[in-house]
Amino acid sequence: MSRILPILTVVLAIISIWYGAAVPMNTAWEVDQAARAGVPAPVGMDLVAATLAQDRPVLPAPHQVAAELYKSTFGLKVTSPKSLIYHGWITISATLVGFAIGTSFGILLAVGIVHNRAMDASVMPWAIASQTIPILAIAPMIIVVMNALGVQGLIPKAIISAFLSFFPVLVGMVKGLRSPDAAQFDLMKTYNASAPKVLWALRLPSSVPYLFASLKVGIAASLVGAIVGEMPTGAVAGLGARLLSGSYYGQTVQIWAALMAAAIVAAGLVAIVGAVERATLQRMGYREGAR
């Protein structure tokens, strides 16, 4: 409970700063409109009320974003192209497919690296170097090239997601698969265990905490990949498309609502992975905080 009060205070402070910023940022437009209409600009509370209720504000007030978010999630049919559930689902499905591809590829490569010295020495430096490369910059190209090959829709976005979620998993798994100590490996050796047996009975179980730590990073990265992947396709569908079309048409409230939806999805996905982590580790006998 001692953590809730500080967090609430900070969140409230952010919201009040947000309101405080919205009024001066939107004032210019209001004054401009009044001057064009030839009437004196509103002052005092009228001005504040007017700035918080514009159609296309520079900075929409929190309650406008919340209203738009509510309207576009619950107020519309799910199949409507304005519904955030429709767009959110498209983004989530690409995220999940990409996450699955990236995770399995990362685990397989990590197993290979752990078992083969040549692979370790030659692949690992490149995997680390590729971390410093802005992978997202390639996103438009992957989309267009796949389009030229006749692959459209979910798969190109999923590939970008996979690209982004693959590295955290690879790095975490290599660390995890090497985490058992020498005494445990020696014990396996005295049992005359084969390499696959060691992998299955010792390396994989002890890598699980590392795996989940990377999965949480990986799924957040996948979502970013899916959102960015939706941008260059000409804004057809998905949360990224909502962001882009909002920025084309100056629909600031729509951008903020899509952004909030993306934040909620990200928090939800990370929370799901966290819950699976807790359940799994508990079943496996890891104690809370004991890593």
Partner: protein
């Protein structure tokens, strides 16, 4: 067909060399990854030629290299716009603000308890999504790119610095207390130096984020120069060799930036166990 066979043979040969080298107890240092990298380029070239892949889908490394050499002035201008003006300035502002904020909230446990979970949450969010808003506010030039970079690098550096400021252990604090050290002495002589390994962790993560932020922000509007602009424009014209040349620039810039920060880290935190040879 001959190209395909050649690249497969080259792959097998290089792999055999690598296995041989890796088996040597002394280790081979940079030779192994270098051979692997060259192998990928050769196989890429051979496969594209041998299978007759259209250059619109995947250009060969040689074509990309030629384009890179031919377009150096353009690439330099793009690099200058995106990296030097957008990413570096945003990186400096964002990291500076994050460190100052960390020192400020370090004095208040209440603020720390509130801000850290929020900071961790924000660090996991798709912050790239804020790019269209900031482009609207700050215009198409580098200012909006720097703003996106500031927002992207702020929280990772903040969270790491706050963790770092706690790194000095009780014995060391007690020693400072026996010296009658003031808060500023404590901060500059003990706690900031002790926080450096953590801070550099955040700073290194932020290098990649800075470049990504600056490039992606250009997708939402930019002057007619810049790496993100060039990538979207050339993708539209199917000039994929130019896109790959930009990606090469981005990769070089990203690695060099990361390397530079790591180098500074090695100088500053030479005392830390992870830096000892």
């Amino acid at each position: 067909m001959i190209w395909v066979l050649f690249s497969i043979a080259f792959w097998a040969g290089a792999w055999a060399v690598n296995v041989r080298l890796a088996a040597r107890p002394s280790g081979a240092g940079l030779i192994l990854p270098a051979i692997f990298g060259i192998t990928i380029l050769v196989v890429w070239e051979g496969m594209v030629r041998g299978l007759g892949v259209s250059p619109v889908i995947l250009p060969t490394p040689i074509a990309i290299g030629a384009r890179f050499a031919a377009e150096l002035p353009t690439l330099w201008a793009d690099f200058n716009q995106t990296f030097v003006k957008g990413a570096l300035r945003g990186y400096a502002i964002g990291c500076g603000a994050a460190v100052l904020t960390a020192i400020a909230i370090d004095r208040s446990p209440f603020l720390q308890k509130g801000l850290l979970p929020v900071g961790n949450f924000v660090a996991a969010l798709p912050i790239v999504g804020i790019a269209p808003i900031l482009v609207m506010w700050f215009g198409f030039d580098w200012h909006s790119k720097a703003a996106v970079v500031v927002v992207m690098v702020f929280f990772p550096v903040l969270v790491n610095t706050v963790a770092g400021l706690k790194a000095a252990d009780q014995m060391q604090r007690d020693l400072m207390a026996t010296y009658g050290a003031t808060y500023t002495h404590n901060l500059f002589k003990l706690r900031l130096p002790a926080a450096m390994p953590f801070m550099f962790n955040g700073l290194k993560i932020a290098t990649t984020l800075a470049l990504i932020g600056a490039i992606v922000a250009e997708f939402f509007g930019s002057p007619t120069v810049g790496m993100g602009f060039r990538i979207t424009a050339e993708v539209g014209r199917l000039g994929l060799d130019m896109v790959w040349a930009e990606i090469a620039v981005a990769a070089l810039a990203g690695s060099a930036f990361y390397g530079a920060v790591s180098l500074i880290e090695r100088r500053v935190t030479f005392w830390h166990p992870s830096q000892r040879k």
